[in-house]
Subunit: 331 residues, 2 copies
């Protein structure tokens, strides 16, 4: 295992310390392991909380800031945060307007966020939850009942974050988050396995001539192993199930090509080009796009493609200003 | 070789097509292979041009936009752009206020930019050049006489870009760019080799238990091979020559931890934490910071650390608004 880390058991602690040192606008609770906007709670605003296992950076801590998340809980690598963390973060960002939990659909995350939501409700905080489940690759998987939550989580966080920033009520923000999830689908491919620090060796073996289609962001098995293919074919294989599952005839979409951690931007640009060509042929118009490594799986080489069917409201919320360390635009 | 590409010879063409498709604010000349601001030339503003071999993305095309570069030329992977490209890009962004060439110190880049500058001057365009040579690892190397130009290139582009945006004259913008280079030092480490698409195999072999200190961004040999070490020791080994070469007693610095393409953010945060600890002990104050993969070496795992000694003027120019696809803040 070759990684820029100290002891494998200290990776999350050290990474949080690095985030704390690098970003003055963020405040880190090192004991309870959550990162929040230094100015949270924001008066009158619905608080947005996400989190999950570490290893997907910049998701979620890199997406904390104006116009997006108010806080993010960090579990150990690929391990759900515990209810105490989630409860503390929920309390820290509640202005009285309530808190939305944005939860990727993994059994541990769902259970622990649920438990924290109940405890928060008992102490008088209004909590709503949205479960993100955009991955079309598999129905049930190693850690999930139903579809897995992957890169659309970023889209949910951005768009719901903009709605919250406008002062909308909790139920309204939750409904928008749910709508983004309903209208998003993703599919990923791995060229290599990731290596979990504590394990010290690749999660799975993947021969030099093969790739894993439909990979999960924890290295969970995908749909099938197939021979390594040119980018154009890979893009076809990723988009086929996405397009089959989402009615996009004549639609505007946001196209998101996401790197899994070990793949550089030059390859993501190549993939984006193929995605754009396929969508043009299918009569789907790309109205917005995002290219980069935002929802990673440690050092896995590969990418995912996410499409979100846009409407005027979602587009306006996507375009609204955002100021996080990983995603920022507008004033 | 496992990459998300089509044919190895098409990587640069396909990546430029992807950039063109993804970013409406950028215009790509596919024949002459340069990317420019769609609104260039900007009336009255000094034009900023950089470029070099491909394989370092998002450098340079991802740094084209308001407050930074006006255009970037893309050579083949790790191969200098030719004078024709550089000349065409220079012409395309000259508003009459002249053009600054920002050139990483590699023999081919320096020669080709020089030739293009002469041709541009003959056609009446005022051109100034700054050669970036921030890498303390080696004095001369495979492709370079003198120190190599690496991650400080981004700092030069950002700060000179802000000066140009303020309407300063060419000589003034060039002097500021030179000052940023003079006050910057970098050093990198590779955990793995990169793989050049056309070669199809790793540029060098690096045993599972070793790393290469002082690596160049094309996989050029570094200072020495050493045993793999914890992040804290790696940070010491990277910073020692940087601190020895730059007088930073009591200084404010910009600290830039840069991923080389195959290393995910979680590891960069860990490295940043160690860098911050060392600087605190050395009495150097981090006033600004940047963490991410901006100046890459294809899929190489590893990172570089760059320090820039700040003064009030450089800090203000760093903070000025920038709107590129890879770096953006402010309005």
């Amino acid at each position: 295992m070759k990684k820029l880390i100290n002891h494998p058991s200290d990776v999350v602690r050290d990474a949080l310390a690095g985030i704390d040192a690098a970003y003055p606008d963020l405040t880190v609770d090192h004991e309870l392991r959550f990162v929040r906007r230094a100015d949270a709670p924001v008066a009158g605003k619905v608080g947005l909380l996400s989190g999950g296992g570490s290893g997907h950076e910049p998701l979620h801590a890199g997406l904390v800031g104006h116009g997006m998340l108010d806080a993010a809980c960090a579990g150990e690598v690929f391990t759900s945060p515990v209810p105490d963390q989630i409860l503390a973060a929920t309390r820290a960002i509640d202005s009285g307007a309530g808190v939305l939990h944005i939860v990727k659909n993994y059994t541990g995350d769902v259970l622990n966020f649920e438990m924290a939501a109940e405890l928060a409700a008992e102490s008088g905080i209004e909590v709503a939850s949205v479960i993100v489940d955009d991955d079309v690759a598999v129905q049930d998987s190693l850690y999930t009942a139903g579809r897995r939550g992957v890169a659309a989580t970023l889209l949910v966080e951005k768009i719901a974050g903009a709605a919250a920033e406008q002062g909308r009520k909790l139920a309204d923000v939750a409904a928008i988050a749910q709508r983004v999830d309903d209208l998003s689908r993703s599919m990923g491919v791995a060229l290599t396995s990731c290596t979990v620090p504590a394990a010290g060796r690749p999660t799975f073996d993947l021969p030099e001539t093969e790739m894993e289609l439909g990979i999960g962001i924890h290295g969970e098995p995908g749909r099938r192993r197939v021979p390594l293919a040119p980018a154009a074919e890979i893009a076809e294989q990723l988009l086929e199930p996405v397009l089959a599952d989402l009615d996009l005839a004549g639609a505007d979409v946001l196209a998101f090509v996401n790197g899994l951690g070990g793949t550089p931007n030059i390859e993501l640009y190549v993939m984006y080009n193929e995605v754009a060509a396929i969508l043009a042929k299918a009569g789907v118009r790309i109205a917005r796009s995002l290219v980069g490594s935002y929802v990673t799986s440690l050092d896995m080489a590969g990418c995912s493609v996410t499409l979100l069917r846009l409407d005027d409201e979602l587009t306006a919320l996507w375009d609204a200003p955002v100021q996080t360390t990983a995603l920022r635009w507008g004033r």
